[in-house]
């Protein structure tokens, strides 16, 4: 695959001499208890430019942006907009000052149309007739070149389109500074391209964009300037045109050499750990799939083409039709009736906070969630040992903050994922179902997850469900492409043309 998938418009935009920043952060500090999430951060945002924020998981990017968007208040330091100091009491104040943020989980009303969502909560918005409403929103969308049907219902839209609606909401509220926290994590490459074009167009109209992402090639392609955050401090600011390679950027970010490649040595293939035979039902049609110990099989496709149903049936969340799913050689029913806590199947779900962990419990209890049988002594639970093992896992996987009593929701996205992975591998699985395992993870954490999944092949087979084709090509032995509940193709990654064949199959085109 090429290094840069996104084509940057051919223009260099140096910062004009003596330009005055629209937003200026000075010595901003934010603590959560003992954790210093942001330590004396000074940062300038200029109009008409895209600033990328780069940093490891838990570096403090989201915290910094939440302060700018009025969700948190700085402990010390000042924020200036147009040269005047501001103190935001809520996100309303921030929006009034022209600062808007697109959060990762969209805040839209599913049963309403795009136009209604955009005008929701606006003064006078209630009394405007639908035609007028749609005309206004449509005008706005055309102005910024956002291709979205303003009369469509949200529930009918793809993730990428929903994101455009969130952007429209901010534009309608006259936001001049738009913040995006990992906007591309849920998008297909196609949609990402479209988002980037929209962002460029917005900067041409004088808007400022702050963009957080862990995908380096995106950052290099998109940004006018890059600020690197490490452990709550600004590590430095870079000019993207002066960056030689992804690896260079990555090592600046992490502070040590990063390879960005994993070396996949073939492993001897053993017994099948998953067999799906002619499964029809639950929205799937005639699905056949086999995963053997020692191999990684990736399932790719545009979100919503049956991947979720497949995973739910395999992992026991819903019941598949009889005699279609066999795990470790046993029929589904028998397997789940008799499965043990270790040396069996484990599932690393995409929904980390809602499904894989208990949000209001600490890391010890969250370790126990799926391993409790291993800590049971008769009817009792050996909490001491669980605490010791949690501490060990925190050290081994470098989970921050390193306190066993931190609650799940307090962890940054990347660290929570490491915690889930640590727990599931602790069970010495024979079959691993990993769903978007590196979504939201920084480069070194991604590399580590990849390495651990490859290592796990020594005793396990892996079913990898991912939206990241690069990941699938890096890790998998075979790639299954799903389209409308069917597996349209099963491609071995050993063949050179596989990479180019995936795209058409994802769109349902059979040569």
């Amino acid at each position: 695959m090429s290094e840069l998938r996104y084509v940057r418009p051919a223009r260099v935009r140096p910062l004009p001499e003596g330009a005055v920043p629209v937003v200026r952060l000075k010595e901003v500090t934010k603590r959560f208890g003992k954790v210093v999430a942001n330590n004396a951060i000074t940062l300038d945002i200029h109009s008409g430019r895209i600033k990328a924020l780069l940093g490891e998981n838990g570096a403090g990017k989201s915290t910094l942006m939440s302060m700018l968007a009025g969700r948190y208040k700085p402990d010390s330091g000042t924020m200036e907009v147009d040269g005047r100091p501001v103190r935001f009491e809520s996100s309303k104040d921030a929006i009034a000052a022209g600062i808007g943020m697109v959060y990762q989980n969209f805040m839209l009303v599913d049963s309403m149309t795009v136009a209604e969502n955009v005008l929701l909560g606006q003064e006078g918005g209630f009394f405007i007739n639908p035609g007028e409403m749609e005309a206004r929103v449509d005008a706005l969308a055309t102005e910024y070149g956002l291709a979205v049907d303003v009369s469509a219902r949200i529930s009918d839209l793809s993730m990428g389109e929903r994101q455009l609606v969130e952007i429209l909401k901010l534009l309608y509220r006259k936001s001049r500074i738009l913040i995006f926290d990992e906007p591309t994590a849920v998008l297909t490459p196609e949609e990402t391209n479209r988002l980037f074009e929209a962002l460029w167009r917005m900067t041409e109209q004088g808007k400022s964009v702050i963009f957080i992402s862990h995908k380096l090639e995106e950052v290099i392609a998109l940004a006018d300037e890059i600020a690197i955050l490490r452990r709550g401090r600004i590590e430095g600011e870079l000019d993207p045109t002066a960056i030689e390679s992804k690896a260079e950027l990555a090592s600046r970010m992490v502070g040590k050499e990063v390879l960005l490649e994993v070396d996949r040595q073939p492993v001897e293939v053993g017994e099948p750990v998953l067999e799906i035979k002619g499964m029809t039902g639950l929205g799937l049609t005639d699905v056949n799939l086999e995963v053997r110990q020692g191999e990684i099989v990736a399932v790719v496709g545009v979100a919503g083409n049956g991947q979720k149903e497949l995973v739910e049936a395999v992992t026991g969340l819903v019941k598949p039709p009889v005699d279609t799913v066999f795990i470790m050689g046993q029929p589904w029913r028998k397997f789940f009736a008799e499965s043990t806590w270790n040396r069996s199947m484990c599932y690393i779900p995409e929904d980390r906070l809602g499904l894989a962990t208990m949000r209001n419990q600490n890391l010890v209890d969250n370790l126990l969630l799926t391993t409790r049988k291993g800590f049971a002594r008769g009817m009792w639970l050996d909490k001491r040992r669980a605490e010791r093992d949690t501490e060990e896992l925190i050290r081994k996987y470098d989970i921050r903050p390193g306190r066993i009593h931190a609650l799940a929701w307090q962890l940054s996205g990347g660290n929570l994922q490491k915690a889930v992975l640590a727990r599931e591998l602790y069970r010495q699985p024979r079959f691993i179902v990993a769903e978007q395992p590196t979504q939201g993870l920084d480069v070194s954490a991604t590399e580590e997850v990849w390495r651990r999944l490859l290592d796990a092949r020594a005793m396990a087979g892996v079913l990898l469900v991912t939206g990241d084709l690069g990941e699938a090509l890096q890790l998998a032995d075979r790639i299954a492409v799903m389209y409308r509940g069917r597996i349209l193709g099963m491609l071995p990654t050993s063949e050179a043309e596989t990479a180019s064949r995936i795209g058409p199959l994802m769109a349902g085109v059979l040569d």
């Binding site: 100091p85 103190r87 009491e89 969340l317 949000r359 209890d365 969630l369 009817m379």
Partner: protein
């Protein structure tokens, strides 16, 4: 000066206690207004309330006595609430417990206490638990909402109790009053020393500590806590949610059943309709106020029991309606619940326009 509402970045450490005391003061304040509205001397009323609940040994004993059934019912309710199963049927399960204990007491009148008591407690637990088991099965098999079914079963339980004391178990020598014969001495829980407080208090302490240890140190207790996060997480963690639901409801009903057993045996010494004074409903208030923690439940049960005793005193001395106590109870719960708002939000002064 403008005030603004802001979300807290971190939870408020002493918030729960401050809110509780604040809500209590607020409720007492409103009660004063209510008294004043009736043309009574409000401050004098508050003094009588205090006198009646904590002012003397007799009052304290009364409060402890009422706290015992309240504590057990509330503990049961809290176990179910922990799992987000809304058992509001403690009242009915309490009645079934009383019926179970009475059944044993009337069937084996000759047994000494060490033979009869275990039978009574076991049967009370069994019947109370079985009464709660019905809604659990209905919920799992037919998806019947447990709030409705537990509530409805309360009425059936009370009617059942009435049927027994008006009919088959009626004491022939009671001059037509609906009550069973008095229990034999083996079926009566004795007082501690010469006080009115009985050994049921010790039983409560044992059960409370036992439940705390169960929730904290056992695997089942952990699974219970995890299931409180929702059926999907339970499914992910391979917790047998259905089985656990039945277990928890059985336990919950059993605790209420024990409360019924103790109250019948120690306080009334017989079964009669006046047993049912709404402990099962107040228990829900206590459980919520205590945020489902056993130790807090002990305090909460004592506090609301004292309030009951105090209001009874107030009623006698100032001739105010009996509803007054219920109003106060409801008000405390409402203000505490409303006060939870301040755990996640704070009110602060907004800076004046134009910045500083």
């Amino acid at each position: 000066m403008a005030l603004k509402i802001r979300k807290r970045d971190e939870p408020w450490k002493w918030g729960a206690l401050v809110i509780f005391l604040g809500a209590l003061l607020f409720s007492l304040g409103v009660s004063c207004l209510l008294l004043a509205g009736q043309g009574k001397d409000a401050l004098h009323g508050m003094f009588i309330l205090w006198e009646g609940s904590f002012g003397n040994l007799w009052a304290l004993e009364g409060a402890l006595l009422k706290a015992i059934p309240l504590f057990l019912c509330s503990l049961g309710v809290a176990v179910a609430f922990r799992m987000q199963i809304w058992n509001i049927g403690a009242e009915g399960q309490f009645a079934l417990g009383a019926i179970g204990a009475t059944w044993m007491a009337l069937s084996f009148p000759g047994l000494p206490w060490y033979g009869l008591m275990p039978l009574m407690f076991a049967m009370a637990f069994l019947l109370g638990g079985a009464w709660a088991f019905i809604p659990a099965v209905l919920k799992l098999k037919l998806r019947v909402n447990e709030i409705i079914s537990t509530l409805m079963l309360n009425y059936i339980a009370i009617l059942l109790l009435d049927y027994l004391v008006f009919g088959v178990w009626k004491d022939p020598t009671s001059f037509g009053f609906p009550m069973t014969p008095e229990f034999t001495s083996g079926a009566v829980i004795a007082g501690i020393g010469s006080s009115r407080v009985h050994w049921g208090l010790l039983f409560c302490a044992v059960v409370g500590v036992g439940l705390w240890a169960f929730m904290r140190f056992t695997r089942l207790g952990f699974e219970l806590k995890a299931s409180g996060e929702g059926a999907r997480v339970a499914r992910y963690a391979k917790i047998r949610y259905g089985l656990l639901t039945m277990f928890v409801m059985g336990l919950s009903g059993g605790f209420a059943g024990w409360a019924g057993c103790i109250e019948t045996s120690a306080v009334l010494n017989r079964l009669q309709p006046s047993l049912m004074v709404g402990y099962g409903y107040t228990a829900i208030v206590v459980a919520w106020l205590a945020r489902l923690e056993p130790l807090n439940i002990a305090f909460g049960a004592f506090l609301l029991a004292a309030l009951r005793v105090g209001v009874e005193n107030l009623q006698l001395e100032l001739q105010i309606p009996a509803a007054f106590g219920v109003i106060m109870e409801g008000m405390i719960l409402l203000t505490v619940l409303a006060g939870q708002f301040f755990l996640t939000y704070r009110i602060e002064r907004a800076p004046r326009e134009g910045g500083e």
